[in-house]
């Protein structure tokens, strides 16, 4: 089968390259717009989503953790992240895991180069916004007690050691581990959300709980900000998911619709669960459901149909709610803003369900067992493999990154007094709101 496919690819390749090596202004316009949309998700969407949930004494620090992570991670992406993720290593053994260092500082990429039907430069920037949001997601687990200096070192190292290799393995093209296995991850369920969410949990455990966790009331600064953040995330997510079709085309249309359906259904689901269990529908609940739905549909966006989007949306909220309300209490970790509970678990659900619910449609599917032979069980096992590989790499990589960062900055945690005063004042010398 593989041989047959290789022949098929060889036959098809010259035609494809010829056809795709022409710049399409519609595709280019959409990809530039998508880049701007994904960018909005981090320093506006995620930053507000998180800030609203933190205590007021740490609100400004939370925003800075997200925005600081974004700017630094993007710079690191240009320096070497892109090369490690999307470069092509000469040795096959290296290519399995990383793309090498041939494109460090974008060396070797000309402004006239095309990635399909739009400029490679646009692809670099588009993917850079993904790299930057992924580590920013993890910040939600450690707000209120991690040193900002440690966080900045974590961000820089993590982008190279964890994010870029995982991106390469999943999306890095021929020779990359999970790409060759045929893993389906449309826009980053494993690469971005599982990855960022699990990194958050690992950091939360390593840096320890906030002082007074589960003893004192830790009331959110403003749920309104969180809700606005969720709305901006949703808006930007059209670039994230529909942009991951890499063109202004019908597949982007599929992703746009499934993203909207799953998200709306997930928002409703979370609201209903809370209403049923706690007798009150909460705004934080609706906002959480929206984000859980967005995360869950991400790996599946361009692969599933309307029914699939419904199932993924409902399940995303159910499993997210379970993570946040049940798992967190059971294992007593302080995943402060639930990066793990929502991003990892809903991402995991989405990644696995992509294997189950992907339409058997040759024009939508990527190469993999399902496309080649209609082997759904085989596809599901590939999804399981991708989840395990990404999980293991993130786990080990994040532990290493944290210990190095902690050693370089003299401990990863602020002192007790700074934590008590609040990180806004003790780290930044600013306040989130002067009333």
């Amino acid at each position: 089968m593989k041989k047959f496919l290789a022949m098929l690819t060889l036959l098809a390749l010259p035609v494809l390259t010829f056809a795709e090596d022409k710049l399409d202004s519609g595709d280019t316009a959409w990809m530039m717009m998508s880049t701007a949309l994904v960018l909005l998700m981090t320093p506006a969407g995620l930053a507000l989503f998180y800030t609203g949930m933190t205590r007021s004494k740490n609100a400004l620090n939370t925003f800075t953790m997200v925005m600081g992570a974004f700017v630094l991670a993007f710079v690191v992406w240009i320096l070497a992240g892109y090369s490690i993720a999307f470069g092509t290593a000469e040795s096959a053994g290296v290519q399995t895991f990383i793309g090498g260092f041939g494109n460090v500082f974008l060396d070797g990429i000309k402004w006239t180069d095309l990635s399909g039907s739009y400029p490679t430069y646009v692809f670099v920037a588009f993917q850079g916004t993904f790299a930057a949001i992924t580590i920013a997601i993890a910040s939600g687990s450690v707000i209120g007690r991690m040193k900002f200096s440690t966080w900045m070192v974590v961000v820089a190292l993590w982008g190279l050691v964890v994010y870029a290799p995982i991106t390469h393995m999943v999306w890095g093209g021929d020779g990359a581990l999970l790409f060759d296995a045929g893993a389906l991850d449309f826009a980053g369920g494993t690469v971005v959300h599982m990855n960022g969410g699990l990194a958050g949990l690992v950091l939360a455990i390593l840096v320890g709980k906030r002082a007074g966790y589960n003893k004192v009331a830790m009331k959110p600064f403003s749920i309104i900000l969180t809700a606005v953040g969720a709305a901006l995330l949703w808006f930007g997510w059209y670039g994230f998911n529909a942009g991951s079709a890499f063109g202004a085309n019908a597949i982007a249309g599929v992703a746009l619709l499934t993203t909207t359906i799953a998200t709306a259904v997930a928002g409703m689901t979370w609201m209903i669960i809370e209403w049923f269990i706690y007798k009150k529908p909460t705004l934080l609940g609706v906002a959480s459901g929206i984000v859980a739905g967005l995360v869950a549909i991400t790996p599946a966006a361009g692969f599933v149909g309307v029914g699939g989007a419904f199932i993924i949306g409902i399940g995303g909220s159910v499993i997210g709610f379970f993570g946040v309300v049940v798992l967190k209490k059971m294992f007593k970790y302080d995943d402060s803003l639930d990066a793990f509970g929502i991003h990892f678990l809903a991402g995991l659900w989405g990644a696995l369900m992509t294997g189950v619910l992907a339409l058997n449609d040759q024009d939508l599917l990527w190469d993999g067992p399902l496309k080649e032979s209609g082997d759904r069980m085989g596809q599901f096992m590939v999804q399981v493999e991708s989840v395990l590989v990404v999980g293991a790499w993130t786990l080990v990589g994040t532990v290493i990154v944290y210990f190095v960062a902690s050693a370089l900055t003299g401990g990863g945690r602020v002192d007790d007094e700074s934590e008590e005063i609040g990180l806004d004042e003790s780290i930044h010398g600013e306040r989130g709101m002067n009333l």
Binding site: M53, A217, M218, K219, P220, I223, E274, Y278, K280, T282, L284, G285, S288, F321, V324, V325, K329, D338
Partner: protein, 113 residues
């Protein structure tokens, strides 16, 4: 001279004020306070994490009147206007006042009221 302190539900303040004005009480001091009695607190729920808010907002009205008669009138006015019949309607305290001074004129006691 008597001082009346009434702790009431904040949304009843306008009704109580009108009732006191109708009863001939010309001045009052109010403050926003927090506390709890039989009503206890309420709880807030964020992603399943429950926080009990023990102290709930109330309004405290303070009035000083010249006689027991006026005090009774005021107490009745407040009692009727602030009443909802539910737990948490509040309490009224009456106490003696030994002296009063009007700052502007230097008048004392009943004349100062």
């Amino acid at each position: 001279m008597k001082k009346i302190e009434a702790i009431i539900k904040p949304f009843k303040l306008e009704d109580v004020k009108e009732a006191l004005v109708e009863a001939g009480i010309e001045g009052m001091t109010i403050s926003e306070v927090k506390g709890y009695g039989r009503q206890q607190g309420h709880s807030e729920l964020y992603r399943g994490a429950e926080y009990v808010v023990e102290f709930i907002p109330k309004v405290k009205i303070e009035i000083v009147v010249s006689s027991q008669e006026f005090a009774d009138t005021a107490v009745n006015a407040i009692k009727e206007a602030a009443h909802t019949g539910k737990i948490g309607d509040g309490k009224i305290f009456v106490s003696d006042i030994s002296s009063v001074v009007r700052v502007r004129t230097g008048e004392t006691d009943e004349e100062a009221l």
